[in-house]
Symmetry: C2
Subunit: 389 residues, 2 copies
């Protein structure tokens, strides 16, 4: 690869640049360069399951919240409207009018959640659509094809995400299947892009349930794939939180520090700095948007459960320290009224706030890392109560 | 009243200024001055039943759509969160963070829709809440009190809105009750504001079902109240559309041309210019927002029923002639996908478009009146097909 090819390559796949590292923890600040813009890490990715973050417009996400990367779900988009339709419409970025970066999962997680409706074989997984019961097959190769049709910047390999708890034996068997699928996915992907520049990166996933030895083994094997980044899956599946963090601690030293690490499906606001302290660069979770809709608002002082009677005539914003449109404009009393009345506008305003809160946390974390004050920040946030007092 | 008092009075109640009149039709362009800004008429008021236009933020309404006046429903706000709570929160403008004008209905229409759950007496109407079955009473006086607590710029008197069809005898009896209630409401309101400037106007309502003689009689009687404006109620209750327009034609010549006329609860996009041609200045309807949510989008070329398969890969905006955020940003294919997936974001984007379309129609109408081209405009819009071809 000559210099020109190299620059072109760097512009078109997800490349990672380290900016600062914490001296006491494993935290680091970086830049993830994608074909759809640069993302400051550590980053939290809002979830746009069906090609939309529920209740927000793309302008809200870009202009107001300054989201740089979104997650979309391959399983949902594959079933409806279909990846071939999205390909015909110019890919997911164009289809949903989102010019910034997109990460898609492989759909594996959703399929494995369809207990009773799916069957695993070594070649892949057969499942029934939750929409109409139709039978479908996902293979390591087909999920790469689907994500290539979507045109996401970061694609994920098909993996098996075991429930918690499982035996060491099942966890090993499942982890080995995930590894074999990852190898098959990479072989297929590299075969398809040979000679072309698709601007897409594929990340393998470390599994191994709650067994540190399996996590380490899996990490060693996926690193051999020389990917642009690595994910840690199978967290937040019902295990106690210290165990999730322990699995990250077992995995992280094996992963190359020059590549971004993505902890899939985490976490609560108070967990974000904990994952970062253990070397995580990317996270995603439906919590800020789903909890918003259910009436749970995250603030710098803990959670506000908006339906509580105590807020019925509370003129204060959800979070006096928050600069989001919702907090700049509306009272807790008004939001409580909208929630009680079942108004869509409640979801719109609450989601905006919760996503803003998550992004604020990530900005605070990154700022602290860059300034060399992350250990102090970590200590301070550990004292914030869960609920507003 | 000296000059200073007069200016202060004009600043604080809804006063009306005629700007232009059509030479062939009864259409006119005007300015409605309220304590919360000036409204260009003819105007369409989006409906914010529970203190929010479903799916839109106040910023969307003010900054993007440039809505100058909203309608809110007294019945709903009285039941939840309660007018006394709203009064304590500084009134409805402050509670919902809406600095522009608000018109509230009296709640009568909603109460009369609760067939089986309400009972009319000469003193008012007893009804059961649709929320919890609790018994409540609305009187001409109490609905003024509730609206004074809300602090709306334009308040409506309690009226009886008979269903269609009713006998001439029932229509007369009902109309006379509405008249007696209007007189009681004005007596109460004027007694309460004596010596103070509340910045609120009260409009009486012309009823009389589909009988021109009753409409005329009712109009003559309400004009004697010397109100700041007059409403025509009891339209769009199931009657054929030519009959609604005929009722407006029977009423309008009786109303003073120096005061705004409000046709309550109308209408379809193609009806807006027809009402204006008959001398109407204000209209409101849930149609643009409700139909948006149900998948019916209004365009300059007719309706788009977004679920139709023909739109599944249609890359065009809903309306190529529309400048709203939705049309500037998203394709019919994407909106159809969001609709099919039941996404909140669909309602958000569709409502924005439909309200924008209604306001565009009103802008076109006003522009045509001011330029003396309204008859030509009316002729042209009468040829637009109902559905996109």
């Amino acid at each position: 690869m000559d210099r020109q090819e190299c620059l072109s390559y760097l512009r078109n796949v997800a490349t990672f640049e380290l900016v600062a590292e914490c001296k006491e923890t494993r935290a680091r600040a970086g830049l993830l360069h994608t074909a759809h813009g640069t993302v400051e890490t550590p980053v939290f990715m809002p979830v746009g399951t069906q090609g939309t973050v529920k209740g927000l417009t793309q302008r809200d996400l870009a202009d107001e919240l300054d989201v740089r990367i979104l997650l979309a779900n391959t399983y949902h988009l594959y079933l409806r409207p279909g990846h071939e339709l999205i390909r015909r419409m110019g890919g997911l970025h164009q289809f949903m009018s989102w010019p910034r970066a997109i990460l898609t999962d492989s759909g594996g997680y959703q399929v494995f959640s369809l207990s009773g409706l799916r069957k695993i074989t070594d070649g892949g997984v057969t499942f029934q659509s939750h929409l109409d019961g139709d039978r479908h097959v996902f293979t390591p190769e087909s999920t790469v094809d689907v994500q290539m049709a979507l045109g996401s910047d970061v694609m994920m390999v098909l993996d098996e995400c075991p429930e918690y708890p499982v035996s060491h034996e099942y966890a090993r068997e499942s982890m080995e299947r995930t590894l074999a699928w990852a190898r098959a996915a990479f072989l297929h992907f590299r075969g398809k892009i040979a000679g072309q520049n698709t601007g897409q990166s594929l990340f393998p996933i470390v599994q191994g349930s709650m067994f540190p030895d399996l996590r380490r083994q899996c990490a060693e094997q996926v690193v051999a794939l020389e990917a642009d980044g690595y994910a840690i899956g199978g967290l937040s599946v019902g295990e106690p939180r210290p165990l999730s963090l322990e699995m990250v601690e077992a995995t992280e030293p094996v992963l190359p520090s020059t590549r971004p690490r993505y902890a899939m499906g985490v976490g609560m606001p108070e967990e974000l700095p904990e994952y970062v302290a253990r070397g995580i660069d990317l996270m995603d979770c439906v919590l800020p948007s789903r909890n918003a809709r259910n009436g749970c608002l995250f603030t710098s002082q803990g959670r506000v459960i908006i339906k509580h009677t105590r807020y019925k005539d509370d003129p204060r914003p959800v979070d006096e320290a928050c600069g989001c449109y919702t907090c700049r404009t509306y009272s807790r009393a008004y939001l409580r009224h909208l929630f009680q009345a079942g108004e869509i506008s409640y979801a719109v305003l609450a989601t905006r706030h919760n996503i803003h809160r998550y992004l604020d946390i990530m900005r605070e974390i990154r700022h602290a890392i860059v300034l060399g004050q992350f250990p102090k920040y970590l200590k301070a946030v550990r004292t914030v109560p869960v609920e507003v007092e």
